[in-house]
């Protein structure tokens, strides 16, 4: 059977709870840098106090902002927004000053996972929560959730968001910023190295409605299959992926995020302040924990997309979110 077993971090709790991963608590704890591994990933790779997986690739949500458009709109290209309210102001100004095919911001409005990835960090940044600790109950009625949805909804109604937002189901949402006609929007950090060379853009943390900063720590974790007889060989490889050689020499060199907080400052991040910003967020960010995450939040026909769309495109944000609490909780609790 397969020995090395990687999975999307968000599904790790489901897999560990079913006993698919080998308990590698002792092996992990023996690492010199055990307490420096990306905390959000470690939380999801832990089940009933046993550790099963370590960070493999990290994909964080951060604001990308187009410095050229900032200058054109009379904004300071070295001062990205520090609150979501300011983010909305910047987006509005860019839409007003530039107009035409230039829009203030963009998000995937028909993509359940995109809402999770780009909106939730604003809730966390303000100290709010999306679920209870065990991921069995939705706390979507958190006032910071309402404030976040209100800001995005207003931007849509004012025509500041690129009109494709309502139909964007996910496959192409990261393609808009690179075309140079979006002012500022949350993006996956993994697209940093994919942007056109000539695009002059900066990176900033996703702020909460009134300040703070956070990120959704996505990506993959890796562990060892519980059915393998080659656990030692598998661990050799997994441990190597966490070494400085692999983290800095390969990941950081490719403008990817490192999985160890002690390596956040390295020779490559020193050359690009955007990478330094992203790396610094690994310790602050969150990855939501739930056994039923996929069926509840990533399913395009599931409860979350309906709630999110009602909240953004409807006219009663609080009512829409309140109505979503029960279906979300019931989906989280299903066996």
């Amino acid at each position: 059977m397969t020995a090395v077993f990687a999975s999307d971090v968000i599904y790790a709790p489901n897999y560990t709870s079913q006993g698919l991963y080998l308990d590698i608590t002792d092996r992990i704890d023996a690492l010199d840098f055990a307490d420096k591994l990306a905390p959000a990933h470690m939380k999801l790779g832990t089940f009933e106090d046993a550790k099963y997986a370590v960070p493999h690739t990290l994909d964080l949500s951060v604001l990308f902002y187009n410095k050229e458009l900032y200058e054109k709109a009379g904004l300071d290209p070295e001062k990205p927004p520090t609150t979501l309210a300011e983010f909305a102001d910047h987006a509005r100004t860019i839409r007003e000053k530039a107009g035409g095919k230039i829009y203030g911001t963009f998000f995937g409005g028909n993509c359940p996972g995109c809402y999770v990835f780009t909106f939730w960090p604003s809730v966390w940044a303000a100290g709010g929560d999306v679920m209870n600790e065990d991921g069995t109950e939705s706390t979507i009625d958190d006032p910071n959730m309402a404030a976040t949805f209100q800001i995005y909804g207003d931007l849509v109604r004012d025509g500041v968001v690129h009109p494709a937002n309502k139909g964007e189901a996910g496959p192409t949402w990261t393609g808009f910023f690179g075309k140079g006609n979006i002012g500022v929007m949350p993006m996956p950090s993994t697209t940093l190295g994919l942007m056109p060379r000539k695009l002059d853009f900066g990176v900033a943390p996703i702020p909460g409605p009134d300040g703070g900063e956070s990120t959704f720590v996505g990506g993959d974790v890796v562990g060892i299959s519980s059915t393998t007889d080659k656990a030692d060989a598998a661990w050799d490889f997994v441990a190597w992926t966490l070494s400085e050689e692999a983290q800095v020499g390969i990941l950081a060199k490719n403008k990817d995020v490192v999985g160890r907080t002690d390596l956040a400052d390295n020779e490559h991040s020193a050359q690009d302040p955007r990478i330094a910003t992203i790396n610094s967020l690994v310790a602050k960010g969150e990855t939501p924990y739930s056994l039923n995450f996929g069926a509840t939040y990533n399913d395009p026909n599931g409860p979350w997309l309906k709630v999110a769309r009602d909240a953004v495109y409807g006219d009663d944000v609080k009512g829409a979110l309140a109505a979503g609490k029960e279906p979300l909780t019931s989906s989280l609790g299903q066996q």
Binding site: Q18, L20, N110, H162, P163, A164, K166, G167, A169, G170, P171, T172, K179, G294, A295, N298, D299, P300, N301, G302, L305, K306, R309
Partner: protein, 312 residues
């Protein structure tokens, strides 16, 4: 020992055959030959159809998660179907889609077939053009149209440059828009194929029948109504069966173009099966719906073929 025994029995068999009349031997050889020819197909059908079918039926009787050991739970996977609101909605939606697609597709295919029926100048070009979209994979065609319909896509650019619209059209923005945008793609993709089916039927109608009708003074419509349509009946039956069955099993087009949205307005029955199996990891539940759908389709096809395939 065994080799010797084999030799003896083979010899005895040869002796028995030799005593038989020549005709029976020939018949026997023919039937063996028939089995030989049919065997490869039989193996393929067994391995790739009967065995999976049996497995699906077995799965539908078990609580069968994607991972872990299954446990027998008949009839839970069937009794919970009426509680699945998404599935109930998808039945209505799929029937609506099937009705619209089948009517439009048959009508357009018939017009195309009649247009290219007679050998004329340029008919080869038209036939090829109409059939060409059928050579594109269905999923690839869906992705192609996803690109056409996107806000930065060519369709909006052309319409805006022509001044027909001022801003991008949300081709997939509402459930109805999404439905008809998808139907447009399906017609583009399948009209040529259905035209081809009708064309084979049209070519099989003897020209003498038309000549006789013409000498009796029948006009074009009368000939279509009283000769073409009745003689085309088995062909139309085939086209309808293919179209209705295919539409009831719709998946690729909605999965790629709309993902069932917006507002779950375009979720087809097979998409619900897919969701039960691969989003919710409930393979038993998905198998239950599949078996139900299979029974309905078999019944529907029997009825259709009886009604439409009936000899006059």
């Amino acid at each position: 020992m065994s080799a010797g025994g084999g030799g003896v029995s083979a010899g005895a068999a040869a002796a028995r055959i030799a005593r038989r009349p020549a005709g029976r031997t020939l018949a026997r050889r023919r039937s063996l030959q028939g089995i030989g020819y049919a065997a490869p197909t039989a193996v393929v059908v067994t391995v790739f159809f009967l065995v999976p079918l049996g497995l699906v039926v077995w799965m539908s009787m078990n609580r069968w998660r994607l991972l872990g050991a299954p446990t027998f739970n008949l009839p839970d996977n069937y009794t919970k179907i009426p509680d699945n609101q998404l599935f109930l909605d998808s039945v209505v939606f799929t029937l609506k889609y099937t009705a619209i697609v089948t009517v439009l597709l048959s009508g357009i295919a018939m017009l195309l077939a009649l247009q290219v029926q007679q050998p004329r100048r340029g008919v080869g070009f038209l036939r090829t053009s109409y059939f060409l979209p059928g050579a594109i994979g269905f999923a690839a065609a869906s992705l192609l149209f996803y690109g056409f319909y996107s806000d930065n896509g060519p369709l909006d650019s052309i319409l805006m440059d022509l001044g027909i619209v001022d801003e991008p059209v949300a081709w997939l923005g509402t459930p109805n828009a999404a439905l008809f945008s998808t139907i447009a793609m399906v017609i583009w993709r399948f009209a040529g194929f259905n035209m081809l089916i009708l064309l084979t039927g049209l070519q099989a109608i003897p020209t003498e029948v038309y000549e006789a009708a013409r000498s009796d003074g029948a006009n074009r419509w009368q000939m279509f109504r009283h000769i073409t349509l009745p003689l085309l009946r088995p062909t139309i039956a085939l086209m309808l069966v293919l179209s209705i069955t295919g539409s009831l099993l719709a998946f690729d087009q909605f999965f790629i173009l709309t993902r069932g949205g917006p507002e779950n307005g375009t979720v087809s029955m097979v998409m619900v099966i897919y969701r039960e199996a691969f989003t919710r990891f409930d393979l038993g539940g998905a198998a239950g719906i599949s078996v139900l759908l299979l029974l309905v389709l078999v019944a529907l096809n029997i009825i259709q073929l009886r009604v439409l395939g009936r000899e006059r």
